[in-house]
């Protein structure tokens, strides 16, 4: 009997050592034991960059990406019937349950969370101080970019500047759009400007001139609706002017060069979302090829015709405008796949701006093209607009700026215009030059003006009726379209976000 008890006691003590229930993960670090080496700082920063892709990659089985949310409601894209996520944005019947708004909300905040991790933990890492400062600068730039998108899309949003410590301290309401600009976006960008980053970069990283360019865009937006801070025009002019006077950038001579993936991050491309074929494919090129026309390996079956120019928008380009010509910004025919026969599209033009010829010919359309977030043409037009608004009349550099863009399109230069005429010229040029680059919608809401494609002039945002309307089916912009709705699933999870934006 004694032996038995001894045996059992032995078994119990053998195994009941405290260590038995200690979990020792072998496949991940934790926040507590990471962030000790320079490499850790870089890997934390890489994640901040990664989320810039999330808006330009598929967000559904086919034909869907959050990118489309900022193109379909401009009235410049052709109405499509499927999928439903696209239909509601072309018909302006989207609501708080529409998925793309959730993608913008969720992934902007994932990017912000990743940036907050860098800003909290990297300062404590022992490493080259110069590089450390740059890393913090890159993270600040990206955080500002994510917030800049959020406030332009949703207006008031939640202000998060620290990593989330636990699941209880996450229930906050929305802060005013003004405070997000003034307390995060502008301070982040001005700090990033001084972080010792190189003036330019050709690998896809943030550079000092990219920071100045974004700052110019931020000031121009703050000067417009809804903040209307007029003093920001001169700051926008100053920042855009610094980029122009640096002499580091120039417009590509041809649109072919602009399109060519080998020119990514070079020339006129100031900052881009990075892709690499076979690693993280660019997808938007496939969204814009025609369907059921055999110019691509799969006849556009998977994603073709997800985004097409509206006929009236295409018609608004003058016949001299080089951008309208085939194989520039648009095309109406193309070579059959693996053949020399030319196939003409029976039902209208498609967008050629992001067509990757080499990928279509040799790599089944799998492209590694980077998507432009800021390019020099945008900075030139930003300068022209900001300077005119700030000084009351366009100066010589503003004329030069807009005329550079016009001349490349083989349009005649303009001169001797009054401020109003000039601003309208700039805005129309922005619509044409920057079309389908996720810029037009933001221009529309900051200026509350829409390019009326039929009348070829700028019209008021509120009440603008899309060209594809008719007597029984009307698509018209109203007050509620100035901001997108906060996703209802977010409000479900956190009622402090109420009320939703007006109209939702």
């Amino acid at each position: 009997m004694k032996k038995v008890i001894l045996f059992i006691l032995f078994t119990l003590t053998l195994s009941s050592c405290d260590k038995f229930l200690e979990a020792e993960p072998e496949n991940f670090f934790t926040t507590e034991n990471y962030y000790t080496k320079p490499e850790h700082a870089e890997s934390a920063l890489n994640a901040v960059y990664a989320f810039t892709r999330s808006f330009y990659i598929p967000s559904g089985s086919t034909s869907q990406a959050a990118y489309l949310m900022l193109e379909l409601p401009t009235g410049q894209a052709r109405r499509v019937s499927a999928p439903i996520n696209n239909q509601v944005f072309t018909d302006l019947t989207y609501d708080a349950q529409s998925y793309y708004a959730l993608v913008w909300w969720k992934y902007a905040y994932k990017g912000i969370a990743a940036a907050n991790v860098v800003l909290k933990y990297v300062p404590g890492i022992t490493m080259n101080e110069q590089r450390k400062k740059q890393i913090l600068g890159e993270a600040r730039f990206l955080r500002a970019w994510y917030y800049f998108n959020l406030v332009r899309i949703f207006g008031d949003v939640v202000k998060i500047t620290e990593p989330t410590p636990d699941a209880t301290n996450v229930y906050f309401g929305r802060s005013s759009l003004k405070s997000i600009y003034e307390e995060i976006i502008v301070p982040d960008l001005t700090a990033a400007e001084l972080s010792g980053l190189p003036e330019t970069d050709q690998t896809g990283r943030v550079s000092t001139l990219a920071i100045k360019s974004l700052l110019a865009k931020v000031y121009l937006t703050m000067a417009g609706f809804p903040l209307n801070q007029n003093d920001k025009y001169s700051l926008a002019k100053q920042k855009a002017g610094e980029v122009i006077s640096s002499g580091k950038y120039s417009l590509f001579a041809t649109y072919e060069q602009l399109r060519n993936p080998s020119n990514d991050n070079k020339g006129e491309n100031i900052f881009m979302v990075q892709f690499a074929s076979g690693i993280e494919d660019f997808i938007l090129n496939k969204f814009m090829v025609p369907r059921n026309v055999a110019i691509t390996v799969d006849r556009g079956a998977q994603n073709g015709d997800s985004l097409r120019p509206d006929d009236a928008f295409y018609a608004s380009f003058s016949s001299q405008d080089l951008r309208k010509k085939d194989n520039q910004f648009f095309y109406t025919s193309y070579l059959e796949y693996k053949s020399t026969r030319i196939l003409t599209f029976a039902d209208g033009p498609r967008i050629f701006k992001f067509f990757d010829e080499n990928a279509e010919k040799n790599n089944a359309g799998r492209s590694g093209k980077a998507f432009p977030l800021i390019r020099y043409a945008d900075v030139l037009l930003t300068y022209a607009e900001a300077q005119t608004k700030a000084d009351g009349a366009p100066n010589a550099l503003s004329y030069t700026s807009i005329n550079l863009v016009k001349q490349r399109a083989q349009l005649s230069s303009i001169s001797n215009q009054n401020a109003t005429q000039f601003i309208d010229e700039v805005l129309i040029e922005r619509n044409k030059e920057l079309c389908f680059e996720n810029q037009t919608w933001f221009d529309m809401v900051r200026t509350r003006k829409v390019y009326d494609v039929k009348a070829n002039r700028m019209a008021d945002f509120i009440g603008y009726t899309f060209p594809y309307s008719n007597s029984t089916f009307t698509v018209k912009l109203t007050d509620k379209n100035l901001f997108f709705p906060v996703p209802s699933s977010e409000i479900d999870a956190n009622p402090l976000l109420k009320p939703n934006n007006a109209g939702y």
């Binding site: 119990l12 994640a47 349950q97 998977q302 039902d347 089944a364 977010e490 479900d492």
Partner: protein, 794 residues
């Protein structure tokens, strides 16, 4: 089908028995859904375009492959007909058991091959088992078991949705042999391949191997004291193979794409019990038990993804021929649990019973202060039929009253959730597709990590406290047996992945979100109706369960759940409401022509769904959602009758479920769209002439996918689950052919179904989330099976 139960070795001191069972069956789709044919589809598409003021393209010219010179569709394909088949099932089982001196053994082999009703799908099962029991010494017994199972499944899941959505006007293939796809018709959404192409050219395979070894030793120290120890090791290996062929739209750009996901799971377990049993004065029976248990689990997994194949022939079998691959992934994790328990049993003259147990369970899944938890329980029972005042009454053969109350714990959730782990992948914007948080510079990938979860150091064991009161009665020499129970199970510290606001950087957090309660009645009635040459017995079971949420979070705030389709919430956890109640809008009908002006104030037009403005603010917003259904039945059960006469047997098993709702989300994509095929119900849509319809006007621009009561259906049903007939050949005959027994049988499973539900089958539930039960979205259809069996014992 013949079920195999564990057979003990033969009874004689040296004997052996060989049994062979074989059965075969034929399976068919039990219920076909009413989808549009080509002419109906074209009509619907034209109505859509008219209602939307879109031109009807000249398809005769634009799509000559699909339309003839008169503009009529050339093809009319019934995709259900093309994708389903009559499938054969086979099942064989060989059992050899016996006794040799003080050893008993059993060897069993099984093979099962079930073709699936979808083309090229099916399941194969191989089983082997060995049991060996010996009495080594008079005080030492051992029992050793080994088993191995191999399961190979071909699933074809991807074809299900395509089957409903592919339009009928495209053919299987064109006369020149080219495969067709939905996008051949310009009006269709992109990309989808037709189901037959998917079933033929898309591999979707799962292979599982499962091995278990277990040894039990029983040491009798004395007549009253016994020690039992059990050691087991088990391994499970699962491998999922997928190959998307080059002929599929999804495979063209990749030029063939193969993925292999592999997962290996190893567990060991040691259980030890010391039991003391003694009866005093022939009245007091005592049993005491002490036990301790340890379990360790290790899991590792990897996944590879290769693209660019010169030939589909290779499938997933030779990834080396691929030209490109994604970054492979791997994973490794584990958990340990450790329990101590004691049990005390006492009964007096087998009349009064008392049991008390205490368990301490520990798990590595919890943080430092919450690893262990205590779970006590107690039970009493009174056998009234042993009392003198009832013993004399012959018609009562047994009567027992029971009362028990006890606690149990649950730690089944992910590992390491109390730590703040860093990961290289997060959920991507495309549901179900991971997003690597790496950067790309200069066309090269640079690895990144982000916090992958919110640490929750307060996580603790989920605790369920169950109270049960029951009665067992047997009457008329066991001819009538009745069991009745009332129970209440209260679960506290419910473990769940609660949604978090995304501005935190995270979508959810594993936490103890609240308390829920299940309570109800269960009745079981067994009657032996006739027991002569003709024998008839009946089993009737019925359960009435109610559940509700008792408490949530800190302030009883609602938890909305779903996001399975179109990312919208479909279910809710709300205090005092059923678990995962359906959540959505109330559809009051369709706005009629007479209501044009009122509809306009809501931004709607006649023909749009008329949703109830619950808060009366004059606009339809998410605040107008409410609880609109309950996925749990009011009652469910079965009614089984067994008849036999001289070797003939008839078995009838009826199953019923009553009072549950089904959230039929399939309807959302199969009635309210155009460009894909839809159910014929769509033809009954609202028109100015058909004002009473509850189906939106074709081409209505009202937002789709605001889930409302239109999608909620009654899920009650009565099913003929199994009806079978068997014949045992008489002894006299079997002896002549030197067999101990010979039995033939024939059966019909899922023989009939009575239900109002419009989908394939009311036993619906597409998602694994425990709080989205009863939500259907492209469910795998149920089959009907006719089978024949043969059973031989040598």
């Amino acid at each position: 089908m013949i079920l195999i139960s564990t057979k003990q070795g033969g009874a004689n001191s040296e004997s052996s028995t060989l049994t062979f069972n074989a059965s075969t069956g034929l399976q068919q789709l039990a219920r076909k859904l009413p989808l549009l044919n080509a002419a109906q589809y074209v009509e619907l598409e034209n109505i859509f375009k008219q209602n939307r003021n879109q031109p009807i393209p000249n398809y005769r010219v634009l799509e000559p492959l699909l339309y003839d010179v008169n503009g009529k569709p050339r093809y009319d394909t019934d995709w259900q007909e093309e994708s389903f088949r009559d499938a054969i099932t086979q099942n064989y089982n060989l059992n050899y058991s016996g006794k040799l001196n003080k050893n008993k053994y059993l060897v069993n082999f099984g093979y099962q091959n079930d073709e699936g009703i979808l083309l090229n799908t099916g399941a194969k099962n191989y089983r082997a088992r060995l049991n060996y029991d010996s009495e080594i010494k008079s005080w030492l017994n051992s029992s050793i078991n080994f088993s191995f199972t191999q399961q190979n499944l071909n699933l074809g899941t991807q074809a299900l949705r395509a089957m409903s959505e592919i339009i009928p006007i495209i053919p299987l293939q064109y006369p020149d042999g080219t495969l067709s796809r939905n996008s051949d018709h310009a009006f269709s959404p992109n990309g989808q391949d037709h189901p037959v192409n998917i079933l033929n050219n898309r591999l979707d395979q799962r292979q599982q191997s499962y091995g278990l070894g277990n040894a039990v030793f029983n040491v009798k120290f004395s007549p009253v004291l016994e020690f039992k120890t059990s050691i087991s090791a088990q391994g499970r290996f699962q491998r999922n193979d997928a190959y998307i062929g080059k002929t599929l739209t999804a495979g063209i750009a990749d030029n063939g794409r193969a993925t292999i996901n592999s997962r290996r799971n190893f567990n060991w377990q040691s259980s030890n019990y010391l039991t003391y049993r003694k009866t005093f004065a022939q009245k007091h029976s005592l049993e005491g038990l002490l036990g301790a248990e340890w379990l360790g689990a290790q899991i590792d997994a990897y996944a590879v993804d290769a693209r660019g194949f010169s030939d589909d022939f290779y499938g997933t079998n030779n990834l080396g021929v691929a030209t490109q691959s994604l970054i492979p992934t791997s994973d490794k994790f584990g958990y340990n649990t450790n329990s101590y328990f004691s049990r005390f049993n006492y009964n007096f003259k087998q009349k009064y019973y008392l049991t008390a147990t205490t368990r301490v369970d520990g798990s590595s899944r919890f943080g430092e202060n919450n690893k262990y938890a205590l779970f006590p329980s107690a039970a009493i029972a009174w056998v009234l039929s042993e009392e003198d005042f009832l013993k004399s009454r012959e018609w009562i053969s047994f009567l027992k009253l029971r009362l028990s109350i006890g606690q149990t714990g649950n730690s089944e959730f992910g590992n390491y959730q109390y730590l703040s782990s860093l990961g290289a992948m997060v959920e991507g914007p495309r549901p179900g597709v991971n997003f690597p948080v790496s950067a790309i510079f200069n066309g090269i990938r640079f690895s990144g990590v982000v916090p992958a979860n919110v640490p929750n150091n307060n996580l603790q064991w989920e605790k369920a406290t169950q109270t049960d009161i029951g009665i067992d009665i047997s009457l008329f020499r066991d001819k009538i047996k009745l069991t009745a129970d009332w129970y209440r199970k209260k679960t506290d510290n419910l473990l769940y992945q609660a949604p978090l606001p995304n501005h935190s950087g995270f979508s959810n957090v594993t936490s103890n979100i609240g308390s829920i309660q299940n309570s109800g009645y269960e009745f079981g009635l067994n009657t032996l109706n006739i027991d002569k040459a003709f024998h008839w017995n009946t089993t009737f079971n019925v359960a009435f369960n109610r559940n509700k949420v008792l408490a949530l979070g800190v302030n009883n705030e609602d938890v909305l759940i779903g996001g399975n389709t179109n990312q919208q919430n479909t279910n809710i956890l709300r205090v005092n409401e059923p678990l995962g109640a359906f959540y959505g809008y109330i559809r009051q009908g369709i706005w009629g022509t007479a209501e044009t002006d009122l509809a306009k104030t809501f931004g709607r037009q006649p023909g749009d769904p008329k949703l109830f403005d619950k808060n009366g603010d004059g606009t339809i917003t998410p605040d107008d959602r409410t609880i609109i259904g309950n996925g749990y039945p009011k009652s469910e059960g079965s009614f089984i009758n067994n008849f036999s006469y001289k070797g003939w047997g008839v078995f009838v098993d009826l199953q019923f479920v009553y009072g549950n709702d089904i959230y039929n989300l399939t309807k959302y994509t199969t009635e309210e769209r155009v460009g894909t095929n839809v159910y014929t119900y769509a033809l009954d849509a609202w028109t100015p002439e058909n004002q009473g319809s509850n189906r939106r006007k074709i081409g209505s621009t009202a937002p789709t996918g605001l889930f409302d009561t239109y999608y909620v259906e009654d899920g009650s049903f009565l099913r003929g689950r199994n009806i079978s007939l068997s014949y045992n050949f008489p002894r006299a005959l079997t002896n002549k052919i030197k067999l101990q027994s010979l039995r033939l049988s024939a059966g019909l499973q899922n023989a009939f179904l009575i239900t109002k539900y419009s989908g394939y089958d009311p036993e619906a539930g597409t998602f694994s989330n425990p709080f989205t039960q009863g939500v259907e979205f492209y469910q795998y259809p149920k089959n009907r099976l006719v089978n024949f069996g043969l059973n031989i014992t040598l």
